[in-house]
Symmetry: D2
């Protein structure tokens, strides 16, 4: 961390910084120039609050060298982390294909969908029992009943289940059924939820917030890691921009960049990332080419009857076709399906 002092700051200002640094267990390195003094702070700086230093008198700017995350950092853990999920895994050479309807809407419907996506090549089932919806008047999910159906689908297909948890008080019930607990984009900085997931004992798939910087995304992962859960999977699902033709802007350079910054697996969700079924196959292929460790796709046997996110769901046959094109593509980038 580099503290740039204002030209002509008082000696006491510099002393105050040094005293603060010592309190934080850091050492300082002074560089006194003609015009200004620059103080390097050395030690375990990821615990230091840039704002708290910046508010001290005489300080012009504070520049962080390195990153504020530690456990999530590739510097801390150079090898790729492979997250074990109930006999399967996410993050290794083999790509993870997570698919299923957006929401669990009925037992018969979900079981049919589960069978179809398994047949078409999915490794993991997705499906929401608890649904975050922009409107209080929209379908909010089958909740406990939805969890029961997910358990049944897992039993029938043998595929691990990824499903969302929206509140700390629901963690025990969701943990009982889910193989991976999903944190939605709108809860990426629900810190009470993240802290609690540190103790849930199951892997967590953490979606990137709609306007979250990559750094904030990794800091949200750090919350889960620092609270005791090492099994975190990151999921890019599109950011909010000025563009109106797509629901979100799928940020694949964030996938490529996150892979250099962190050892955690990173997957992409082109269904939410674009909001348009016709773009999903192309963007799934692009995600794999960009280095994604897997894809998460909404597949619905009858998108027109879906209670949520119909316009971005693809049919099982289109999904099977997509999986077929991913196979040779994966080989080009040294991966397999």
């Amino acid at each position: 961390m580099i503290v740039v002092m204002k030209p002509g700051c008082a000696d006491g200002d510099i002393d105050r910084i040094i005293e603060r640094a010592h309190r934080l267990g850091l050492r300082e390195h002074l560089s006194v120039g003609d015009e200004r003094t620059i103080i390097g702070l050395i030690g375990d700086v990821h615990r230091v609050d840039v704002g708290a230093i910046e508010a001290l008198p005489g300080v012009e700017r504070v520049l962080r060298v390195g990153h504020p995350f530690k456990l999530a950092s590739r510097a801390f853990h150079p090898e790729d982390t492979v997250v074990a999920v109930n006999g399967h895994s996410i993050g290794g050479e083999r790509l993870a294909i997570i698919a299923g309807p957006c929401a669990v809407e009925s037992e018969a419907g979900y079981l049919e969908a589960a069978r179809l996506v398994k047949q078409a090549g999915a490794d993991f089932l997705r499906g929401g029992a608890f649904k975050p919806r922009t409107s209080p008047y929209s379908f909010q999910g089958l909740r406990r009943e939805g969890l029961r159906i997910l358990a049944r689908a897992r039993e029938e297909t043998g595929l691990p289940v990824v499903t969302e948890v929206m509140s700390p008080e629901d963690i025990p019930a969701v943990t009982e059924v889910a193989d991976v607990l999903q944190v939605g984009a709108r809860n990426m900085q629900n810190f009470a939820l993240l802290a609690e997931l540190g103790g849930c004992g199951k892997p967590v798939l953490l979606k990137r917030g709609l306007a979250a910087s990559i750094e904030e995304w990794l800091m949200a992962a750090e919350y889960i890691l620092a609270n005791g859960n090492p099994r975190v999977i990151l999921c890019e699902r599109g950011i909010r921009t000025f563009e109106g033709y797509t629901r979100n802007t799928l940020d694949l350079s964030a996938v490529a960049l996150a892979k250099t910054l962190t050892h955690l697996p990173v997957v992409a969700d082109p269904s939410h990332g674009t909001g348009r079924a016709d773009l999903v196959p192309r963007m799934c292929r692009a995600a794999v080419a960009a280095g994604s460790d897997g894809i998460m796709v909404e597949v619905h046997p009858n998108p027109a009857e879906a209670l949520s996110d119909g316009p971005q769901s693809i049919r099982p046959d289109a999904f099977a076709e997509l999986v077929a094109t991913l196979r040779p593509l994966a080989a080009v980038v040294g991966r397999s399906l």
Copy 2:
């Protein structure tokens, strides 16, 4: 709601829309043109999911006429809502001045700050006991102990207290002390929290999310209203843009526009909105000129020692000066302090 069908769609496609409309309790109005058919759906459309209609076969686009919020809408409730807060109020002719440190850091420090801001002209105290922080390694607030200190400050100053709640399970404890419960920007779409606040019996100050559209902000308010709590205050606190010189971009046109769309009070928080103490007084004045029902300002007796958000806190004397300039300004726009 207007459903634009694709040129040459099947008759069955149109029948399906009409059947779906009837199921939702709506009537239809058909307009058959040379090239395409347009279907108007009439009735209580704010419960209808645009996406669910858009996914039906033969549909090109669905256009909502009017807004998806109802209880929050000025069409539903034309008069300004004045929220009663323990003998004070927010939303009437008198501007609400909410001030205090970002976080409660110690009993002595907070009580001193509370006395100073009251003396300088504050009507409401602010201060966080539960602090949402980007890093798990940053100060997370004094929590229960912080609530106790807030209660003491209210007792001593007689000012109502605004403080944040981060999780459904903390609502009972926070409700016991707070006069207004604050929902932070990062929790604006924490729907579990919003729904629970519908039954808390205290007013809720709802901060706009960093990338929330005005519509989504009002829909978040609708969650609280629809769950039984009519006392919601909106707070604009800056949105995230590409600009790096300010921490956020305070969106005052959102304040002006929200006042036309909703009857709920709208206040502005230029401290978080800019992140820079030197801009706070000017942006407070601009907020009042834009039609804000009040301002929320971070004031700290010693910003350099603040454990969070030091760079955006102003000193009590600067705050007193600000209040003095707001008095004649309020008069120009038909308000008072």
Copy 3:
């Protein structure tokens, strides 16, 4: 175009719309409901200004059905356009590989770079003689001397040259040398320049503006097309978002979407799109997987000595390696190199 009238608007308001429609050569279709009247305007609506209708009394909202662009639209020209470039082409089955240094800096240096990129697999040379720079104190390009060097490089390598033009008055000089004239992102809505390029007789590569919607990008292409030049190539080069780790956010869903909206070729520039050499190869592969008709890459024999954009340039050997991985990837998506 659908004009939604306010509930209870005057009959005269409706008559005024109809009269205006007739003046614009359009027919109307009235749909009189219980609450409001909706007017459909039928005909060649892409010339109609939405704002001009929206300002008429009694109008609540105007909704465009279809797009404001015509010549650029796939509806108007369903087949993919293949742009012929001096014996080569962009837009067909074969991917276009455009590579070279950001700027022409010296004759010897550029010729060496040109030979190296040709050898490594480039089909087109890129290199700026006129350089748009954020600072007036930065290197602005060799200008006329740079054009001379580009001409020499073309002669030596036989590769067509893509180079930027910044002002209408430079078009004749640039046209003399360039095989493709490039319009930079900052000039995407320099309408005087676009109109003039309609008559230049050479293909134009139009970069997307930093905050341009896909619709505005296609409307900028429409300027060139409507002024008489059918040979336009679109280039996605990253948009501006809140993310700070990358210089821009390369928007590959814009590539996938643009291909559905327009018949014009679309290429991607991951060098500017990310600003980081280490992400370029992965994002080039992702661009091809997303359906891009080609890539544009900055290659410099010695990035550390580049006068501009060093951090995003890759070395010739890394470029050769990239081209090698693109070959099997292209085959997967039905293309070739």
Copy 4:
């Protein structure tokens, strides 16, 4: 400028930086830590390209201390600049009120509008003869004929005229008529135009680009200043965000902040900044409260008949009312009308 070297970089890497610094006329200051070396570069660094240093081997990051603009900087010129405009001025204690129709549409219409806005309190006339339009099919302005009408309006009213110039080749014709030449948002980084305006001999009003950072805006001003024209006025006109209810997001904190960074006058344009006539008066008041040196407002005698930007134009009587409320507001912030 601070160059942070990578841990364990070669000695030669450091020597190369120092040698490059000397070539640029800079001195260096080395700070050798346990883990890494930090090099401070001292001297006239605003001419140094951050990217060029960042691309050198062994460099981790380059941090600019201070700003890349010089002539525009308040550090260089601490006093407010007051721009003289043909007997009037912009930037002093007196606020500049610039008003008129968006475009010059006819002689009779424009002269009537000019008389009305003068009567209502305008100090400067605005009106476009050359109109940048998103669509090639929209009205592009009366061009030379429009300039003739503007000259007539200036003669009749005695008010100075602000009008846009879109291309270097139009500068002589526009300069003949205009008292202030306007550069539109879409041309803010049309560097060929900016450089040419350095020699035009008239003040230039420079609109902020839709996605331009404050730094880029000031760098665009620097282009004009560095090319010999000291009379630059900055104009905030809204930036592009994800919000759909307003055409743009008027960024008033940019006005407040720019006033601290530069000595140049800064005005605000709430008409383009919001795109909605009903928000214009409130946002004009907010702009003055935020410290703007003036406002620019679209006023049209009959917005429904305007050929461009009708929805954001206010009527002359609403404008007169706005001016009346600005008078006491200006007094509160130490300004006058």
